[in-house]
Every structure is written in structure tokens, then in C-alpha cells.
């Protein structure tokens, strides 16, 4: 599988990572190499094999649907790059 420059640009955007136009050809080449390596998987007969969801045969536990923790806004905001009046602050989202 070969990744072209447009696909590399699209993947970078989906991943929300800014990649300069000049760097896109190199990125496309690297991604292509890695995907070529993965293509070995096509040699394996996987007919009738379930995709693994859990490596140990255990059922995910459930807990009661109740509040367990809370009332710690200050703690939660403490590491925010920009917090104001008890909220996370971000650039304008809605035009």
C-alpha cells in the first residue's frame, strides 16, 4: 500500500497534528514503508477467526451507576494551560 501526499495530509489532519507541506512527502514515504511491513498479515488465513477483544477470558465488571467522586473542580483545573472562573478556556469554537 502506497500512501500519496494527499492521503498523508488527510491522516495528519485526522490525527490533529500540523505537518508542513514540505514534510508531507517524507511522511508519506514513512507511512508507506510501515504499511508495507504490515501487509505480511495478508499471508495469514484468518477465516472464521474472531478478532481478539480481551486477552484474558474475563468479563468486564460493572459497578452501580452512582456518583463515586466529585466536587474537585479546583484539582481538575489545576494543570490547565488556561482556566478562568472555574472553566477550561479555549479559543472561540462557535462563529
Amino acid at each position: 500500500m502506497s500512501i500519496d501526499i494527499e492521503t498523508a495530509r488527510k491522516v495528519a489532519h485526522l490525527a490533529r497534528i500540523r505537518v508542513a507541506d514540505d514534510d508531507l512527502p517524507a511522511l508519506a514515504g514513512e507511512l508507506s514503508n510501515i504499511l508495507t511491513f504490515m501487509e505480511q498479515l495478508n499471508e495469514v488465513d484468518v477465516d472464521g477467526i474472531e478478532p481478539m477483544a480481551s486477552v484474558t477470558p474475563m468479563r468486564l465488571r460493572r459497578r452501580a451507576d452512582v456518583v463515586t467522586e466529585g466536587e474537585m473542580a479546583e484539582s481538575i483545573l489545576k494543570n490547565a494551560p488556561d482556566a478562568r472562573e472555574g472553566f477550561f478556556a479555549v479559543p472561540k469554537v462557535v462563529e
Binding site: 500512501i3 491522516v11 495528519a12 489532519h13 485526522l14 490525527a15 490533529r16 497534528i17 500540523r18 505537518v19 511522511l27 514513512e30 507511512l31 514503508n33 510501515i34 504499511l35 511491513f37 504490515m38 501487509e39 505480511q40 498479515l41 495478508n42 499471508e43 495469514v44 484468518v46 477467526i49 474472531e50 478478532p51 481478539m52 477483544a53 480481551s54 486477552v55 484474558t56 474475563m58 468486564l60 465488571r61 459497578r63 474537585m72 484539582s75 481538575i76 489545576k78 494543570n79 490547565a80 494551560p81 488556561d82 477550561f88 479555549v90 479559543p91 472561540k92 469554537v93
Partner: protein, 492 residues
């Protein structure tokens, strides 16, 4: 000999007999840590916390309430969230992040009286096999054979370097594809990755959640048993943590493996494998046979597909786990230009904050999960993973107790030597360890010998799920037979 060179076992005895205090031991380790800066192993030092914990440990020792790790100075990998102490997974995107909470692993260690000397270097978000992707710069292997600096391996490179150089008694590591076992082998120490679900992942910064497990990196197999005991156990905060009782791992070290069946997987005999690795493997096989075990050839037919399966599954999980680093809640936010919107903020923040390898894996993961490719890559890799696990299930069902393999395809290489190589070349470092994560099994790396140039080499033992005690006992037998006592000559 100074106290920082002790094993946990020896220090435990000396502390309980009051031959030294926890404060004395901790001060010795702090001094060792401070003279070890050339190794770039400790990246955030916490001597004040260490001394406070040591004083508390001395009080417990005096009161006769001293768990095994009481007063033992440890290094903690930067991947573990430690309250009020920088915890940034060696990434610029978590610059300045000081968690408001303590990871389950470090909570358990501190409850057991352990002392934290500081945080240890690693590959960024545990993505790497040489500690060269760290935002703190390379950690350096204390072993040296010429003027080159060698890698301590990765991702737990700082942990390995610190333990091998006696800057601490032991350290925590984490292992997603070999990140405990490969650095342990490169530095001549012991490292065990427990069964998936044995150790809580809560508060450990996630890389690939279905593969990540924390474990100890120590100077002996007995220390690994003692340390693992303290880390293990069910945790309601991690839904994949197993609700199983933790057996007494140290009590399992009987040194008796007579009648046990050891499997030698033929697929691990790789083309172009260095003769020294082959010879070491044969030597380890003889040691276990001489101890009374039966050696059998086994087959794990899907072994060659483990690396490509891993490099679909792990980046896929990483792209999802690392989506949280968006410059909003913690860590770095890019400086924005006038008119920049929220998407510019995300894209600039992540471009500045993530290093090259992390960006590459996040983008690979994004691609394999994207519409149209999900089945071809991600679901196919998960099917192959089922087959890889089935290979092991079959072998264990046939009565094999443990599997012996090389730990790494080579001894430690020079820092920078792989820089220009294709990323896939670096991935090959994990060829012997990665199957174990995909199958969720316990695996341990034990130092067994030196190569011709004088660098340590390790062998890996793989055990049945949940039978870390039995696995540790096999490792204990191998350790005693190998009699590995070499230490790096101090140059730092």
C-alpha cells in the same frame, strides 16, 4: 561496598536487624543518584520526599511493622503519575504536568513503605526501544566497551540504567512490547512483565491499553518476586485488573524444577541470528536440563506475524489514548496566532508537543482505524492476535511449563547508530518479546552471560498465565546456574 549496591533482599534484612536505618540507606542512594547524572537516568529527583518517606519507614521498622519494601529506595519510571511530582511520560506535551493523584502502583509501593528517589527517563510515551525518543535526551547504559555511549534499551531505559549503575535498589518499568525485558537484558539486570491484568494500570499513562503492564526491574530474581508482590492485586479503578488472589511469589522460589517441561520454540531461531545469541540460548537450555527439567521442541507458528500485528494494534490504541493531549486540560498549549481557531490549537499543540516517533505512531494508528481500512488492518491484526495467543494455549495445553528464548536479537548498540535506519529496523528489537504482550502472558528477562566484547546478554522465560510464581522459580534456577555477577565498571 556501599548500601546502594544492595539487593532489596539484603537491604530488607539489614533494615530489619537495624544494622542500618532507612534514612542512611536513602542518603547513600541520593548520593549515588547525584553522582550518576552522566547517565541521564533520573530526570526529576525527589530527595525531600525520599527522606520523609525514609523517616516514616524507620518509624515502622522500629515499631516492628515493616513490610518487605519498607525503607527500600526505588526509582519510578516517568510514566507513573506521582502526586505533586512531574509525570510527563518523557514528552514535551506533558511539560509542567503535576498529577493531583497517585497511580495505584506507586500508592501500593508507598503503602508498603517504599522510598521514591525520583522519576526515571524513558522513551516518549513508552514508544521506543533505545530511550532515544525522550524529551529529556538519551539515557545512557552504564556498560561501556569503547568510547561510544550505548543505549540502555527502551522504553524503560532510565530504569534499567539506574538499577544497573546502583543509583537505586530497584525501579518500576512498564512493558507494552518488551520495554521491561529488552532494557533489562541490555544492562544485565532482571525484569519481569506480569500477566496482563495482574498489576493495575490506573494512573499509569496509557500507550496501548490492551498490551501495557507494569513490572519490576531489579538486581535479582528474588528481588523481582518481592517487588512484584507489592505491585500486584485487584484494583476497582482498572476494569481489566484481575480479581484473583496474589500468591506468595517469593515462597515459590524453591530452586526445584525437576520434571518441569521447557519448550524451545523453533520459530525463534531467526535467520541471521548472531552466533553468540544462539550459543547463549543453548547454554541456558543446558542449564535448565541439568537442573532436571525436560527440554522439548515446540512450535509457535504465527510468531513471524507478531511484529506486524503489534504495529497495527499498538498504534491504533495509541492514537485513541493520545487523543486526550489537546492543550486544554493539562500540559503544553501552543502559542496561537490571531484568528487561530480550536482546530489550529489542537494541531499546533500536538505538532509541538509530540516527538517524531509518537507522531508517526499516532498517524499510523489513525490510518489503520480510518473508514475503509479498519477491517483490512485493525480487524485483521486482531484476528492474527487471536492466532498468536492460540499458539501459546496449545503449547501449554500440551504440558509445557515455561518457554525459553533469547531476550533480544543483539547486545546493546550505540546511541545514534539506528537514527538513520528505517523505523521498522528499530521495531525488530522487540521480535522475541512482543508475542508475550500480544498473548497477555508473563515473561521475564534474566542476565545469563557476556558477549565477546563484554556486554551483558539475557534470556527470556515465558510462563503460563497467572503463574508468575512458577515462572520466577524457573528464572531463579537459571540465575543460579548462570551465576551472572558482572557489573559495569564505573566511569560516570
Amino acid at each position: 561496598m556501599t548500601a546502594n549496591t544492595l539487593t532489596i533482599d539484603a537491604a530488607r534484612t539489614a533494615l530489619r536487624k537495624r544494622e542500618m536505618t532507612a534514612v542512611e540507606l536513602t542518603e547513600t542512594c541520593i548520593a549515588a543518584m547525584n553522582t550518576g547524572d552522566a547517565l541521564n537516568a533520573f530526570v526529576h529527583k525527589t530527595p525531600e520526599i525520599a527522606l520523609e518517606q525514609a523517616r516514616a519507614a524507620d518509624a515502622r521498622l522500629a515499631a516492628g511493622d515493616a513490610p518487605d519494601l519498607c525503607g527500600i529506595p526505588l526509582g519510578i519510571k516517568d510514566l507513573f503519575c506521582t502526586k505533586g511530582v512531574p509525570s510527563q511520560a518523557a514528552s514535551n506535551i506533558l511539560a509542567g504536568f503535576k498529577p493531583e493523584y497517585e497511580s495505584t502502583v506507586t500508592s501500593k509501593l508507598f503503602d508498603a513503605g517504599a522510598v521514591m528517589l525520583g522519576k526515571l527517563n524513558m522513551d516518549e510515551f513508552a514508544m521506543g526501544s533505545s530511550n532515544e525518543t525522550s524529551c529529556y535526551g538519551d539515557a545512557i547504559n552504564p556498560w561501556k566497551i569503547d568510547d561510544r555511549n550505548l543505549t540502555p534499551g527502551g522504553s524503560s531505559g532510565g530504569s534499567a540504567a539506574a538499577v544497573a549503575a546502583d543509583l537505586c535498589l530497584a525501579a518500576t518499568g512498564t512493558d507494552t512490547g518488551g520495554s521491561i525485558r529488552q532494557p533489562a537484558a541490555f544492562t544485565g539486570i532482571v525484569g519481569i512483565k506480569p500477566t496482563y491484568g495482574r498489576v493495575s494500570r490506573w494512573g499509569t499513562i496509557a500507550y496501548a491499553s490492551s498490551l501495557d503492564q507494569a513490572g519490576p526491574m531489579t538486581k535479582s530474581v528474588r528481588d523481582a518476586a518481592i517487588f512484584l508482590q507489592a505491585m500486584s492485586g485487584h484494583d476497582a479503578k482498572d476494569s481489566t485488573s484481575a480479581e484473583l488472589a496474589v500468591p506468595d511469589f517469593e515462597a515459590a522460589l524453591t530452586g526445584d524444577i525437576r520434571g518441569k517441561k521447557i519448550g524451545i520454540p523453533r520459530e525463534y531461531r531467526m535467520d541471521g541470528m548472531p552466533a553468540q545469541i544462539e550459543a547463549l540460548w543453548a547454554k541456558g537450555t543446558d542449564m535448565l536440563r541439568d537442573a532436571g527439567a525436560t527440554i522439548v521442541d515446540i512450535t509457535l507458528p504465527h510468531t513471524k506475524y507478531a511484529l506486524p500485528a503489534y504495529y497495527v494494534i499498538a498504534p491504533a490504541e495509541a492514537s485513541s489514548n493520545l487523543a486526550r493531549y489537546d492543550g486544554v486540560r493539562y500540559g503544553h498549549r501552543a502559542r496561537l496566532d490571531a484568528g487561530d481557531g480550536i482546530v489550529d490549537m489542537y494541531e499546533k499543540t500536538r505538532a509541538e508537543g509530540f516527538g517524531k516517533e509518537v507522531q508517526r505512531r499516532v498517524m499510523v494508528g489513525t490510518y489503520v482505524l480510518s473508514a475503509g481500512f479498519y477491517d483490512a488492518y485493525y480487524n485483521r491484526a486482531r484476528r492474527v492476535r487471536t492466532l498468536i495467543k492460540r499458539d501459546f494455549d496449545t503449547v501449554f495445553a500440551d504440558g509445557v511449563d515455561a518457554i525459553l528464548t533469547p531476550a533480544t536479537p543483539s547486545a546493546a548498540f550505540g546511541l545514534g547508530e539506528m537514527k538513520s535506519a528505517d523505523p521498522v529496523q528499530m521495531y525488530l528489537n522487540d521480535v522475541f518479546t512482543i508475542t508475550v504482550n500480544l498473548a497477555g502472558l508473563p515473561g521475564i528477562s534474566v542476565p545469563v552471560g557476556l558477549d565477546a566484547s563484554g556486554l551483558p546478554l539475557g534470556l527470556q522465560l515465558i510462563g503460563r498465565p497467572w503463574e508468575e510464581g512458577d515462572l520466577l522459580n524457573h528464572a531463579y534456577v537459571l540465575e543460579r546456574a548462570a551465576g551472572f555477577v558482572a557489573k559495569p565498571a564505573k566511569w560516570w
